[in-house]
């Protein structure tokens, strides 16, 4: 799909001037600190108010800058859009509005700067506050003066975002002609745009875009409002839209005339319009389409009018075509003709352009010369030539296993010549195994291998502990340990905490309690949570009280004693005494 270069839908909404002020001031209120006291040092007070002024100024600048950058500049958009916007919104008005916004932005910048400078000399909270108030008031006044420009820009934005997105570079068919000659009906036949069709003039008041496919390409069809035959200066906004489209789009022009004169205009006036806007067509492919051919044909007309139309064709200004949207005759033929003409035209212009040389260099069609007269035909083996193409219905075809199966009476009936089938199955199975082996080798080239058994068991501390608790295991471990100990030099040692517990357990189980391995005792830190408490219910109440006390300071995110803190960043006694080579003459 062809991409649209201009997207006017992304322009941000423009608030009204009073909304604008509200938005900015409330943002200042939200995003800057709000508490200040006269007891603060004056520098802090000044800084507080300077920040407010500066923030307001920046927010205004940002918002106004967004408007300026969002709206398209008429000089930089495609001339078609520039002209269309000129017709719809008046270029001067548009530029003026944007210019005023820009001026307002600069004024606000200056006000902000001035008042920040004045704030530096504010000597009390009251004075600073007054200056801040004055600054914001002046900014708001500047914005209030932009009421009309902002309102206008919002209107423009809403209209602009609803313009149909017309691609200025793609293949386009442009439908034009007098009002009520069947332009929109043709459009509805060719595309799915669903343009309103009514039996009165100027039903279509703006440009309409439809899309269609031809030769696997995406085409754009542009329906324009009707044009009357008069001077350019006298044309109104509706007609001017058609004229801008005619003037700027590289498209095939389909000029519609109504031979039956049901539209209310004579053939002569319609043809004179064609002649008067002919300069706009340039050398673009042009079709003169006689619509409503169900009502009247070219041959039914008097001789003179016939000659007038034929003259146009003979002069090469346009190709003739006829169609009837009512009977659906000639519609597709006309469309195809227009598309072909435009494609040819586009190829021609491309060939004429300078860029084509770069591309032509890349294309090379080589035509090798014959080296000698030796024939070098392509080689096909005899067997292949002799082989016949497999055909299900041929009685002399190769016999497949499924044929044998079918002959012996359907699926599962294999008792005839069983041995052959078994052999076949075996060979298939071996082939399959080999393939599986190969793929397995391919997958495990450089991976360490772990047996499935180990992979299945989970190695956790719990598992290990369970294993140790197992009585049989413990016995063996204890026996080996006691053997080792009996051979080594003996020294009485206090039992470790772990061994003590273990010893009790073993004693209960009736095993040899003396055969424990003895270690040096380790001092164990006791939890101090329950120190000095009689029982668990007391502990509970204490914990509850503790949580209740902490709740508030946690909610307020206050600093607690467990938080890391640096009390003094540079303790004087650590940093004094080593001075640089300063200007002071005493040390």
């Amino acid at each position: 799909m062809s991409q649209t270069l201009y997207n006017f839908k992304r322009i941000h909404p423009v608030p009204t001037s009073s909304d604008f002020v509200d938005i900015v001031l409330s943002r200042t209120q939200r995003k800057t600190p709000t508490v200040v006291h006269p007891g603060y040092s004056i520098g802090r007070i000044r800084q507080f108010y300077m920040r407010k002024v500066k923030y307001t100024q920046e927010t205004f600048e940002e918002k106004l800058g967004l408007i300026i950058s969002d709206f398209p500049q008429l000089d930089s958009v495609h001339p078609f859009y520039a002209d269309l916007m000129n017709v719809l919104y008046d270029k001067d008005h548009y530029k003026l509005a944007l210019g005023q916004i820009n001026t307002a932005k600069n004024l606000i910048t200056n006000v902000g700067k001035d008042y920040v400078r004045l704030l530096k000399f504010g000597d009390s909270l009251y004075r600073c506050k007054q200056l801040k108030k004055a600054a914001m008031g002046r900014m708001a006044t500047i914005m209030k003066r932009q009421k009309d420009s902002l309102g206008y820009l919002e209107q423009v934005r809403m209209h602009l975002s609803r313009l149909p997105s017309i691609d200025t570079n793609t293949r386009t068919l442009l439908i034009c002609g007098y009002p009520n000659v069947g332009k929109s009906s043709f459009m509805n036949k060719v595309t799915r745009a669903d343009v309103e069709v009514q039996p009165y003039a100027f039903t279509t008041k703006s440009l309409f875009v439809g899309h269609m496919d031809y030769k696997y390409l995406r085409w754009q069809v542009l329906d324009t409002p009707g044009i009357l035959d008069h001077e350019l200066e006298e044309r109104n906004t509706i007609e001017m839209q058609s004229i801008t489209a005619l003037a700027h789009l590289r498209a095939a022009v389909l000029f519609f005339i109504d031979l039956s004169e049901q539209c209310g205009y004579s053939i002569e006036t319609q043809l004179s319009l064609f002649n008067s806007i002919k300069p706009l067509f340039g050398n673009r492919p042009t079709l003169l389409i006689m619509s409503k051919s169900d009502a009247k044909q070219l041959e039914d007309l008097p001789e003179e009018t016939q000659n007038m139309i034929k003259e146009i064709e003979n002069s090469g200004a346009a190709k003739l075509s006829r169609l009837s949207s009512y009977l659906d005759t000639g519609v597709m033929e006309t469309r195809n003709m227009a598309c072909e003409l435009l494609l040819q035209y586009r190829v021609d212009t491309k060939l004429k352009g300078s860029k084509i040389k770069e591309n032509l260099n890349k294309i090379n069609l080589s035509m090798p010369k014959k080296r000698d007269s030796v024939q070098r035909p392509s080689f096909i083996p005899e067997a292949v030539i002799g082989k016949q193409r497999y055909d299900m219905n041929d009685p002399n075809r190769r016999i497949l296993e499924r044929d044998i199966e079918a002959m012996s009476g359907g699926a599962g009936e294999i008792d005839e010549d069983e041995e052959r089938i078994i052999k076949l199955a075996k060979s298939i199975r071996t082939k399959k195994q080999i393939l599986a082996q190969q793929s397995r080798l391919k997958n495990n080239v450089n991976r360490p291998k772990v047996t499935n058994k180990i992979r299945a068991t989970k190695l956790t501390a719990q598992n290990f502990a369970d294993k140790l608790a197992n009585k049989d295991n413990l016995d063996t471990i204890n026996n080996t340990a006691s053997n080792l100990l009996s051979t080594s030099a003996k020294r009485k040692r206090s039992l470790s905490v772990a061994n003590k517990g273990l010893g009790d357990e073993l004693a209960r189980m009736g095993t040899n309690s003396g055969a424990q391995f003895e270690q040096r005792a380790v001092s164990v830190s006791r939890s101090r949570v329950d120190a000095g408490l009689k029982n668990s219910s007391m502990l509970d109440t204490v914990m509850k009280k503790h949580a209740k006390v902490q709740r508030k300071s946690n909610l307020l995110a206050k600093r607690g004693e467990s938080d890391r803190q640096i009390l003094t960043k540079m303790p004087k006694h650590l940093f004094s005494g080593k001075r640089g080579n300063g200007s002071n003459d005493y040390r």
Binding site: D22, L118, F121, L131, R138, L163, E196, S206
Partner: protein, 260 residues
């Protein structure tokens, strides 16, 4: 109808839903209650803004209602002479209009009596020196303190050159210098931004006048050539006196009334 206005197109083709009008009426009737709930719920800055908006709306509404009422009510014209004899107790009624004119005349006379050099702001608050001047300490040990910085708005003539910093007693910062004043013409009821020519008198002290300090009540001379005022002799006036009516150091601008 443009291509993208599909809602309008649909309405045109199929019409609105049957209960559209009733829904609309109900929604409008409900709106009052919704507004009230909103007004009761909000607080803080939003409430302040909302209340102010409502306040001005209400005033506007009352004004329009009053205007309509006035339009409908019968008004008595002051000049209308009542027909026939009037009882004594009603004789005063007509005299009211005249009485007002009389009092105006008295006011006018009093004004003239008061003298030619009456100024709009006859009294000003005294400003202490330490409010105007900030002491700047100088010297190697920062022990000297004979330098002052003027912390009020000042006017400095075009040809002024600063003294060398070593000898400069009064520093008048660039940020607080002003060249223009917003001058209101009391009779025209219009305000113009005019260049200041000089400071004529500062009521606080002659030193302030010399320094060109601009405080509330100061008489300044402004360039009125823009206004095109003409003397009785036919000459164009270009310098005129004006009195400052605001605190420039608080507002960041100078507002003045032209003395005529």
């Amino acid at each position: 109808m443009p291509q993208n206005e599909y809602i309008e197109k649909s309405i045109k083709q199929h019409g609105r839903r049957l209960d559209h009008d009733e829904r609309k009426r109900k929604r409008e009737a409900r709106q009052v209650h919704k507004d009230s709930q909103f007004a009761q719920k909000i607080h803080g800055l939003k409430a302040k803004i909302h209340n102010k908006k409502r306040h001005s709306e209400k005033i506007q509404m009352k004004k329009t209602i009053k205007m309509h009422e006035e339009k409908n009510a019968n008004q008595k014209t002051g000049d209308a002479v009542p027909e026939g004899a009037v009882p004594a107790y009603l004789l005063d009624r007509e005299g009211q209009q005249r009485a007002k004119i009389l009092s105006n005349m008295i006011k006018q006379k009093r004004k003239e009596k008061a003298g030619k050099w009456d100024v709009p702001l006859p009294k000003v608050r005294g400003i202490a020196e330490d409010e105007t001047f900030r002491v700047i300490k100088t010297g190697k040990r920062k022990s000297k303190s004979w330098k002052r910085m003027v912390t009020k708005a000042t006017f400095i003539g075009e040809g002024f050159t600063r003294k060398p910093p070593k000898y400069e007693r009064f520093i008048r910062p660039m940020a607080l210098r002003y060249k223009k004043a917003n001058v209101t013409h009391p009779e025209l009821k219009a305000t113009f931004q005019l260049p200041i020519i000089s400071v004529k008198k500062n009521p606080q002290s002659p030193m302030y006048t010399q320094l060109g300090v601009l405080t509330k009540g100061t008489i300044i001379e402004v360039n009125v050539s823009e206004l095109g005022l003409v003397t009785t002799g036919g000459k164009v006036v270009w310098g005129k006196y004006a009195q400052i009516t605001n605190n420039p150091e608080n507002d960041g601008c100078i507002n003045a009334v032209l003395l005529v």
